[in-house]
């Protein structure tokens, strides 16, 4: 499964428990795509996000 992880806050990227969950998802053979929403600025960043949402089987938007 292709899973998109969107991080709304910088804290979420640094959150050890989120990291553990994401690592476990990878270990189970799932493809993880990560998107730092807190760093998105230009229209092109947001266009990319829409593409990623449509490409992914599942999107998890972390706090």
């Amino acid at each position: 499964m292709k899973i998109l992880c969107v991080y709304r806050h910088k804290d979420s990227v640094e959150n050890k428990d989120i990291q553990k969950i994401v690592t476990k998802l990878k270990e189970k053979g799932h493809e993880i795509i990560e998107f730092n929403l807190f760093e998105a600025k230009d229209d092109s960043d947001y266009d990319k996000l829409i593409d990623l949402i449509w490409e992914a089987d599942k999107t998890i938007s972390w706090w």
Partner: protein
């Protein structure tokens, strides 16, 4: 088809409303599971107690992710609220099982809630 949704909640202020939202989906025949990270449940109250019972009636559940909690928080959530216990591995399995994952609200606060919040 019946959807399955899991709510992940990390900020204390969002617990009650996250559970209300999870119940809102359960009554629409969507399986809903809520995972509380880090936080102590609010003080016991009838409204939230009823919501929890109703979520369970609808075959949902509210879990305490205990490995993210200190001993006092864990004890309170499991003994006072009788939440089900979950590990991060359980959360991973549920994320994979569910159609949708709801990261509800804001991250956990780094600051201790001041007494004025009471």
């Amino acid at each position: 088809m019946s959807y399955k949704v899991c709510f992940l909640i990390a900020n204390r202020i969002y617990i009650s409303d996250g559970m209300r939202s999870a119940l809102g989906l359960a009554v629409e025949n969507i399986y809903s599971y809520t995972y509380i990270f880090y936080q102590k449940m609010p003080a016991k109250n009838e409204y939230l107690d009823e919501n929890l019972a109703w979520i369970r009636d609808m075959e949902g559940e509210v879990y305490a992710v205990t490995e993210t909690m200190d001993e006092e928080t864990k004890k309170y959530n499991l003994e006072e609220w009788e939440l089900a216990e979950a590990t991060l591995d359980d959360v991973v399995d549920r994320i994979l099982e569910c159609d949708l994952v709801v990261g509800y609200g804001l991250p956990a606060q780094k600051v201790q809630a001041p007494p004025q919040c009471a």
